[in-house]
C-alpha cells in the first residue's frame, strides 16, 4: 500500500507540472494584461502573474473550460492585487470587481485582448499625425499634459481635448472591428 500511495503521489506531481505549464501557456497573457489594466506596473504584473498561477495550482483545480479558467484566474489576480496594494498602504481599488470584469470582457474577454490590439494597429494609423504624436507622448514618453501642449504648440486645454477626441475615435474604430 505504501508503494501504491507513493506512486500515486508521484503521478499527481507530474500531472500538476503539465497542467501548470499548459495553464500558463493558455492564460498568462490574459492575467498579465488584466493586472496591467488594474494599474499594476510591468514588474508588479510579472510578480502577481506568477503568484496567481502558483496560488491556483497549489490547490485542486479542474478546468471546465477556458473561459471559466480565465475568469477564475482573473479573480485570483484581482484579489492578489488588492492585497498587495493594501499591504503597501496605498489607495484601495474601490470599484466592484464585477464592473471591472464586464469592462474587461467587452474589450478583451474572449482572446486576451489580441483582437483589440490588432484593431488598434490599424485604427491608430488612421489618426492624424498630431493626434498620434500626442498619444505617443502621453503613453510611450509619459509626458505631462503641459509637456504635450508645449511640444504641439497648443494650450493645455487644447492638448487635453485633442487626446480625448483621439481616444474616442480609437475606441469607436476598435469597437466596430470587434463587433
Amino acid at each position: 500500500m505504501a508503494t501504491d500511495s507513493k506512486e500515486a503521489r508521484k503521478v499527481t506531481g507530474e500531472d500538476s507540472e503539465l497542467e501548470l505549464t499548459e495553464l500558463i501557456a493558455r492564460h498568462q497573457a490574459t492575467v498579465w494584461r488584466y493586472l496591467r489594466a488594474l494599474g499594476a506596473d510591468v514588474a508588479l504584473a510579472d510578480d502577481l502573474t506568477q503568484d496567481t498561477f502558483l496560488e491556483v495550482i497549489r490547490k485542486p483545480f479542474e478546468q471546465y473550460s477556458d473561459a471559466a479558467s480565465a475568469s477564475y484566474l482573473r479573480r485570483v489576480a484581482h484579489n492578489l492585487f488588492i492585497s498587495r496594494r493594501r499591504r503597501e498602504g496605498r489607495m484601495l481599488v474601490t470599484e466592484h470587481a464585477e464592473q471591472f470584469e464586464s469592462t474587461w470582457m467587452r474589450w478583451a474577454g474572449f482572446d486576451a485582448g489580441n483582437a483589440a490590439l490588432d484593431a488598434l494597429v490599424e485604427c491608430f494609423s488612421r489618426l492624424t499625425d498630431r493626434a498620434q504624436f500626442a498619444l505617443r507622448l502621453r503613453f510611450a514618453e509619459e509626458s505631462s499634459r503641459q509637456g504635450i501642449a508645449e511640444a504641439l504648440g497648443i494650450s493645455e486645454h487644447g492638448a487635453k481635448n485633442l487626446m480625448q477626441r483621439a481616444k474616442m475615435q480609437l475606441r469607436d474604430c476598435v469597437e466596430q472591428r470587434l463587433q
Binding site: E14, E19, T21, L38, L117
Partner: protein
C-alpha cells in the same frame, strides 16, 4: 447642483482603463512576457520545500479544497492566506516535518523488524529496490539507500539526451537513391500512370466511376482551374484539350492564379501585410512563369535575408513567427513537409509514427532550431518586424569558441519532461546544411522529398478540392494504399522534372479523374437516396471517381460549421433523420429542406446519425483525455484541417454546437468533425 461628470484628475474613467492599458501596450510595445519558465521554476521550488517539510504540508493544503467552477467561481479571500507573520508558518511546517519524520522512523523500524522475520518478503523488497531504486521508496521499505542505487531526481527529469533510442529521428522517407535516380517520364506517360493507378483503385473497390464530361464542359473546367478565367458556354475552345492545357499553363494568368493559390494558403490566418503578400505573389508568379524550380521558393521564403525588412523572407517570417514559433512550424509542416505538426506538438501521430515528421521529438527539435527568430509589432513602422538573434544564440561563426546551443523542453504525454536539441527533421546536425539554423532548415526542406510530396498534395487539393492523401489519416482511409503510392510516384516525377510546377499542374488536370463528371445531385435526390446509394456516392467522391465541381473552392471552416449548425437546428432534425431512409412512396417528393439552408457535406448527411468507426474512435479518444478542456478538444478536431488552432469565431460556433446538443460533448464533437472534413 449636479456633481461633475468628469473626474477632476488625469485618472481615466473606470470604463477606459482596460482600453487605456491596451493602448499603452500597443504604444510602448510592452507585451506580456513569457513567464512559463519562471513560474514553473518557482513552483518546483515551492514543491521541493513542501516535500522537504514533510507530508504534513500536503495535508494542510488538502484541507483547503476549493470549488473551482462548480458554483459561482468564488474564491476564498487570498489576503487570509498571505503570511502576516512570516515566521509562524515556518515554525508550524518545521514542527509538522519533525512529526512526519518521527512517524517515518517508526514505520521504518517496524518494517525492518518485520522483514527480519519474513525472508520471502525481504527478497521481494530487494527485487523492488533493484528495479526502482528511488531514495523515497528505499526509505519506505526501511532500507538505507546505498550510493550506487540512488538516482538523482534531476537526471530523471531534466536534460535527457535527445538522441535516445526511442526518439531516434531515422526517417524512412529520407531521400533514397531510387528517388534521386528515378527516370524522367514524358508528360503523357505520367498522366497515363495516374489514370492507370486510379483505375486500379476503382477496380479494387468495384466502383464504377462517373462518365467523362463533354469536351466543352471539360475545357471550361480546365481553363477555370488553370487560369481562373471563365469560358463562355458553350465553350469557345477550339483546340483539343491537351493544346488548351499547354497553352494555359504557359500563360501569365496561370502563373498569377497559382502563385495566389499558394500565397493564400501560406499566409492564411496570419499577421501578413496585404500589400507585402501581393508583392510576393507577383514575384512568385514571375518565378512560375520563368519555369524556376518550385522548391527554391522555400529558400526564398525562409532562408533569405532578414536584415532587410522588405525581403521575401522578412514578409514570411514576420507574418508567422513569434513566441516559440509554433505557428511558423505548423505552417512549414502543413505547406512544405506534408505533415500536420499541430498534432505532434503534444504527441506522436497515431497513424504514421514511422515518419520523422510524425514524432513529437521532431517538432520540438524544430522549436529549438528556430530559437532566436521572432517578430514583433513596430509602432514606428506600423507593421511587424523580424528579429534574428540566431548568430548570438548559435555558434554560426566557426572562428568563435563554441557555446551550448539552445534547446527546447517539452512534456511527453506521460508527463515526463524531455529536452530537444536543435536538429534538422531527419536528425542530422543543422551545420551540415550550411548557414544559420534557419537557413539550414530552408535548404534541407527545399531538397527534401517531403516538400515534393507536399507540393503534389497541395496541387491536387487545389484542383480537386481535397488532398490526394490527407495529412491526418485518423478519420479517412478509403483506398489509402493506392493513393499513397500515386502520391509517391507523382512526387518522384515532380523531382525528375526539376520541380516544374507547370508540368505538375498539367498532369493533374489532364488526368481522366479530372475529366469525370462531378457529383451534381438535387436536394431532393440527396434526401431520397438510400444508405447504400449515399455510401457509394461518398466513396466515389473520396477516391476521385467523380470529378471536381467547376472551380472547386474549399468552403471555409466557419462557413461549414455554420451550415452544420443551421442544418442541425431543431426544425431540421426531423429532416436529417429521414435523410438516409429510402423513399417509401411513389409520390413526387417535395423539397424538404428550404433552399436557404446550404447542403452540408455528403459525409455529414450520410453519417449524421451514425458515425463511422474511425470517426467515433477519434472522438472517443478525445473524450477519454480528461486533461483536455473543451476548447482544447475543439483545437484537436480543427487540427485535422490545415488550421493550427481554432480561432475565436470557430470556438464560438463550436460552443453553439455544444449548446445545441444540450451539452453532449460527443455529439457536438462529431458534428464539428464533419464540419472540419467538409471545410478547409
Amino acid at each position: 447642483m449636479n456633481p461633475p461628470t468628469q473626474p477632476p484628475t488625469d485618472e481615466p474613467p473606470r470604463d477606459d482603463r482596460v482600453f487605456d492599458s491596451l493602448l499603452e501596450e500597443f504604444l510602448t510595445q510592452q507585451h506580456p512576457p513569457d513567464l512559463t519558465a519562471r513560474i514553473v521554476t518557482a513552483w518546483r521550488r515551492q514543491s521541493h520545500r513542501a516535500s522537504n517539510a514533510g507530508s504534513s504540508t500536503e495535508l494542510i493544503v488538502a484541507a483547503k479544497p476549493i470549488q473551482a467552477g462548480k458554483k459561482s467561481l468564488e474564491i476564498p479571500d487570498n489576503r487570509a492566506q498571505l503570511p502576516r507573520n512570516p515566521v509562524l508558518p515556518h515554525r508550524i511546517a518545521w514542527m509538522l516535518a519533525v512529526c512526519a519524520a518521527l512517524i517515518l522512523v517508526f514505520v521504518g523500524i517496524k518494517a525492518v523488524t518485520f522483514l527480519d522475520h519474513d525472508p520471502a518478503l525481504a527478497n521481494q523488497d530487494e527485487a523492488n529496490s533493484a528495479t526502482n531504486p528511488s531514495p523515497s521508496q528505499l526509505a519506505n521499505n526501511g532500507v538505507q539507500p546505498t550510493p550506487n542505487s540512488v538516482t538523482p531526481e534531476t537526471i530523471e527529469l531534466d536534460d535527457l539526451p535527445f538522441n535516445s533510442p526511442e526518439s531516434s529521428l531515422a526517417d524512412t522517407d529520407s531521400p533514397s537513391p531510387s528517388i534521386r535516380t528515378v527516370e524522367r517520364l514524358p508528360n503523357t506517360q505520367v498522366v497515363a500512370e495516374i489514370d492507370q493507378s486510379l483505375a486500379n483503385l476503382w477496380h479494387s473497390l468495384q466502383l464504377e466511376p462517373n462518365p467523362v464530361e463533354s469536351a466543352d464542359e471539360r475545357a471550361r473546367r480546365v481553363i477555370a482551374t488553370l487560369t481562373g478565367l471563365e469560358l463562355p458556354a458553350p465553350a469557345a475552345a477550339t483546340n483539343n484539350i491537351q493544346d488548351e492545357i499547354a497553352q494555359a499553363t504557359h500563360s501569365m494568368a496561370f502563373a498569377r492564379r497559382w502563385a495566389a493559390n499558394f500565397t493564400q494558403q501560406w499566409f492564411d490566418h496570419s499577421n501578413a501585410d496585404a500589400a507585402a503578400v501581393e508583392r510576393l505573389t507577383q514575384e512568385i508568379a514571375v518565378a512560375i512563369e520563368q519555369d524556376q524550380p518550385w522548391n527554391s521558393v522555400m529558400i526564398q521564403l525562409l532562408g533569405g535575408d532578414l536584415t532587410n525588412q522588405e525581403s521575401t523572407s522578412s514578409v514570411f517570417v514576420s507574418a508567422l513567427a513569434g513566441g516559440e514559433n509554433h505557428r511558423l512550424i505548423d505552417r512549414l509542416g502543413a505547406q512544405f513537409l506534408d505533415a500536420n505538426l499541430t498534432c505532434v506538438r503534444c504527441h506522436d501521430a497515431n497513424g504514421r509514427p514511422e515518419r520523422a515528421t510524425d514524432q513529437q521529438a521532431t517538432y520540438w527539435s524544430l522549436v529549438a532550431l528556430l530559437k532566436g527568430i521572432d517578430s514583433r509589432q513596430d509602432a514606428d513602422q506600423g507593421k511587424r518586424v523580424v528579429q534574428d538573434l540566431q548568430a548570438e544564440l548559435f555558434s554560426v561563426d566557426s572562428n568563435k569558441s563554441p557555446k551550448p546551443e539552445p534547446s527546447a523542453f517539452y512534456d511527453l504525454p506521460s508527463g515526463v519532461l524531455k529536452s530537444a536539441a536543435a536538429q534538422l527533421p531527419d536528425g542530422s546536425p543543422w551545420q551540415t546544411a550550411g548557414g544559420s539554423p534557419r537557413v539550414a532548415l530552408a535548404n534541407w526542406v527545399s531538397q527534401s522529398p517531403e516538400m515534393d510530396r507536399a507540393t503534389v498534395n497541395h496541387v491536387w487539393k487545389l484542383a480537386f478540392g481535397r488532398f490526394l492523401v490527407p495529412q491526418v489519416v485518423a478519420v479517412e482511409s478509403a483506398g489509402m494504399q493506392h493513393r499513397t503510392e500515386l502520391l509517391g510516384f507523382l512526387a518522384t516525377q515532380f523531382r525528375a522534372h526539376n520541380h516544374n510546377l507547370k508540368d505538375l499542374v498539367g498532369w493533374v488536370v489532364s488526368s481522366e479523374a479530372f475529366a469525370r463528371e462531378p457529383l451534381t445531385l438535387t436536394q431532393d435526390e440527396w434526401l431520397n437516396f438510400s444508405d447504400q446509394e449515399l455510401e457509394l456516392l461518398q466513396l466515389r467522391e473520396l477516391v476521385f471517381a467523380a470529378g471536381p465541381s467547376l472551380q472547386p473552392q474549399s468552403q471555409s471552416l466557419e462557413a461549414s460549421l455554420a451550415t452544420v449548425i443551421k442544418w442541425n437546428t431543431p426544425t431540421d432534425i426531423d429532416r436529417t433523420a429521414t435523410l438516409a431512409q429510402p423513399s417509401t412512396d411513389n409520390q413526387p417528393s417535395k423539397p424538404r429542406v428550404p433552399n436557404s439552408v446550404a447542403m452540408p457535406s455528403l459525409s455529414y448527411i450520410l453519417h449524421g446519425q451514425q458515425p463511422t468507426i474511425s470517426q467515433e474512435s477519434f472522438v472517443n479518444r478525445l473524450l477519454r483525455a480528461k486533461r483536455l478542456s473543451w476548447e482544447q478538444r475543439v483545437d484537436h478536431v480543427v487540427g485535422l484541417s490545415n488550421r493550427t488552432t481554432a480561432g475565436s469565431r470557430v470556438q464560438q460556433l463550436a460552443k453553439e454546437l455544444l449548446e445545441q446538443n444540450n451539452g453532449d460533448a460527443r455529439a457536438a464533437l462529431l458534428h464539428l468533425l464533419w464540419a472540419v472534413q467538409n471545410g478547409s
